[in-house]
Symmetry: C2
């Protein structure tokens, strides 16, 4: 193909992509509104509106013309990156578009519809089953969701394990074998650490459950967000039932939180968490803004950014050395006699518990490993849906040393499966691992984090994250990013070093 023909193809591809992203961001506005300000009676029609818009997006991705353009750019199912002569960003865009195009072509519309209906019915059944602690009531829907996910995996194709196809939706290019390897290593190190902490003297965190007026929580949280670099002219902070982050455009990323008057951690750490996601979405390089490349490269990398700000920064001693005096003045009734050291320890209290979303930094990944084991067994044919409750109890005892007395606190606790979201959970723990790997690289370049945090030099930290991670968007895969930044592969060791240093000190392990 001549240079001018190639450049014409590329420019048509970019234009095609641009309209696609504008459409997707339009859908995002509807979704954001649905979770924040929409009047309750509008829910049913909003689902129909979103259905129409999402169908438009799907049809554009599946369109013959996109397939033709990708082929003209030299790409094929065996060479997703297209012609080697093309600039690196264009090749990355071609890969992304081709992956989406193939998925949309390989999964029949009929199956897409059945998945959507099963997810909708599944959520309703799950909510009722959880409320009644009645797994049997959810089992038929769960079985159908598993079967449909299996069917989807077969349509998408995989090399070794059907779960590869599911995982790839959330963590592109990651394999079941790779996650198994890392999670196995992690489990071997985490379980003994949790035991040693359990034997140490326990910490008091009861004062975190005193009265924290919502408006003061909001003012304090907004101040911190501003200081770490959250830009109010390009983002918003709103309230929703479940905190989330959503990108509505290159200069429009919104996060939400929920205030709990009777528990300090709930809103504050979710704000830092979502701001971490949001800062990633706001940090894409100008060259890729508005294109499909301007997106998180994987959920694991996304989660590394949220966990970095929530835990590595927000649950550090240095951070609170800076902010605790202000926090104490903001909540004099709750915190007057609590000193900074007691507060720092309380927000880092470790306690093996039943519920993932309430877990501390040490036990959290074990909750994820539990789910990963059950999911891979389900899709590897080693476990039936009916056996899940027992398998859950067994894994929970083995990994966390606690056994749920009810299924509501066990196998029914998460929404993910009821939506057909198999393959999603591992990304939460991968986020912890990536965050620790990135933090070591950051410290190697900028020096120790603690003094930067204590001096509030967030701009320097954010600039590093932007340059090394955010700017690339999806132009680098998760594996490429980790390799670029750390010179190594995904590994559990840096995360374990982080945990041992931090919690060894807190619990005086030795």
């Amino acid at each position: 193909m001549s240079n001018s023909a190639a450049s014409k193809v590329l420019s048509e591809l970019r234009e095609y992509d641009r309209e696609l992203q504008l459409l997707k961001h339009g859908c995002a506005v509807l979704q954001w509104d649905q979770e924040t300000y929409m009047p309750p009676a509008a829910a049913e029609e909003r689902a129909e509106q979103l259905g129409v818009f999402e169908t438009l997006v799907h049809d554009r991705i599946a369109d013959d013309r996109l397939g033709e353009l990708l082929e003209l750019a030299g790409a094929s199912p065996n060479n997703l990156l297209g012609s080697e002569d093309l600039p690196y960003r264009d090749r990355a865009l071609i890969r992304l578009l081709f992956r989406e195009h193939l998925k949309a072509r390989r999964v029949p519309r009929d199956l897409v519809g059945r998945l959507a209906r099963a997810a909708s019915a599944g959520q309703t059944a799950w909510r009722a089953a959880r409320a009644e602690d009645d797994f049997a009531a959810f089992k038929p829907q769960l079985e159908e969701l598993v079967a449909l996910a299996q069917e989807r995996a077969e349509c998408l194709g995989y090399e070794e394990h059907p779960y590869d196809a599911l995982l790839d939706q959330y963590e592109p290019h990651m394999t079941t074998a790779e996650v198994s390897r890392v999670f196995h290593e992690l489990e071997q190190r985490l379980v003994p650490l949790v035991s040693r902490i359990a034997e140490a003297p326990q910490l008091d965190d009861t004062f975190l459950y005193r009265e924290f007026p919502e408006d003061i929580q909001e003012t304090f949280g907004a101040r911190v967000l501003r200081e770490i670099g959250w830009p109010s002219n390009r983002g918003r902070l709103d309230i929703s039932t479940h905190p989330f982050t959503i990108g509505l455009g290159r200069d429009d990323v919104r996060i939400t939180t929920r205030y709990d008057r009777g528990f300090f951690n709930a809103a504050f750490f979710s704000m830092l968490h979502e701001a971490g996601h949001g800062l990633y979405e706001l940090g894409f390089a100008d060259e890729i803004r508005g294109s499909m490349l301007a997106d998180g490269t994987s959920l694991g990398i996304h989660e590394s950014q949220s966990r970095f700000w929530e835990n590595v920064v927000g649950r550090s001693r240095a951070f609170w050395k800076r902010y605790y005096p202000a926090l104490q003045s903001a909540f004099p009734t709750a915190l007057a006699e609590i000193d900074y050291e007691a507060f720092y320890r309380a927000i880092n209290k470790v306690r093996p518990s039943l519920i993932r979303v309430e877990a501390d930094e040490v036990t959290y990944s074990l909750h994820v490993i539990l789910r990963f084991r059950l999911e891979t067994a389900l899709f590897g044919g080693d476990l039936a849906s009916a056996e899940l409750p027992d398998a859950w109890r067994e894994e929970s005892r083995r990994l966390l040393g606690v056994v749920p007395e009810s299924d509501a606190e066990g196998v029914l606790q998460d929404v993910h499966w009821s939506m057909g979201g198999f393959g999603y959970f591992p990304t939460y723990a991968l986020g912890n691992l990536f965050a620790a790997q990135f933090t070591e690289a950051l410290e190697a370049e900028l020096g120790p984090l603690a003094p930067l945090l204590e001096r509030g030099e967030f701009a320097e930290i954010l600039a590093w994250l932007r340059q090394r991670i955010h700017a690339h968007g999806s132009a680098r895969t998760a594996t490429e990013l980790v390799s670029d930044i750390t010179g190594r592969n995904l590994e559990g060791e840096p995360f374990m070093r982080y945990l041992h240093a931090k919690f060894g000190e807190i619990y005086a392990l030795d």
Copy 2:
């Protein structure tokens, strides 16, 4: 066509229409967000997002398939209603769809693009010109906007006057001749009434400009909205620079206001005004919900509903007999020594002024007549854009007895022309006339309004409006509605009777 074939065509048309309305409502979500919560830096990309969505809507309306379906339903450019065998609502739907389809086909895409660009450039130029009081700076854009509107009128076609085609966009089926007739009659009656009021002793309204804390304005306003029937589960009240009403779905209509701490009227009466628009949009019959029929039948009818609640209800003595004690307690500092009668008179003070949006009930329509005269002269070829400032001053002297010293307060005061919105203004005054006609019909059936308002029987009033006006949506044209309800045509007499009764008493005219 066989019955089953006809019913198949109708069901495909309804499905086509349903998706179209879902798309339009999706656009409306983006527009609402743009004016309320969107971060400022997102403005440019939001315009692009809306451009993509609006093009989708336009393409669906212009699509060949829609034309085929309308023809199969027996419709043609000479018989917009389709086959006479069809139910009345289906015929109305066919007419609406066909009108939109013809407009979309008759106006070339190229012209649509030029209009959009001229409107965008026009607004920018107008804003600067108004700020600098420099008509010459806006003149080139204005000339282009007039030329493009003329071109559009020629594409759309008209019987007598090019202005017919422009007017028809906002007030379907209304003609320039009809509006001229009614406005002439109105002018003859209004000008002497304004003179007589000017000679009467003037009212004090200075206390309306005291301090009215925003949060108390909001609480008081929200209470009144709730009591007149605004449903919080199907609507919202937000804040925006310019108050507006927007429908986002059959159970999702949102209004906005803007609080001025130093002027009571600004927020309160705009809330009632927008709630009037909103209640119309929330009142469409179940049978037409979600279809193109579920829309205001004309801007004049829409305005009749907003003016009814703002003026006929909200500026009545009976309404404040009910609410003034609560208002006085809400704002004790501002209103402590002001009695109910003084307040009622103050909110109805008449004073010929330069600015339309600040005008009282008596002079308001004269501002509209002024614009109508200039617009029809422009498009009738009797006036050039360059002559507008002088013509404005002349008409203002003749109609209102006041002459603007600057063009900023004269010909440059409104945004409409800078957006190419020629033909829009008359609907504001038509709203006053329709409202007065409907009010007389309502009183003939329910008895005098005053005691209903004093007793707070808003539900009865709203039920009447729903049944007689709202429920029909666009299934009845404005003319049909007026004829159904009053047995007469559009006329100025009821409005004049209303003004004479109300202001004759306030100003003790005889």
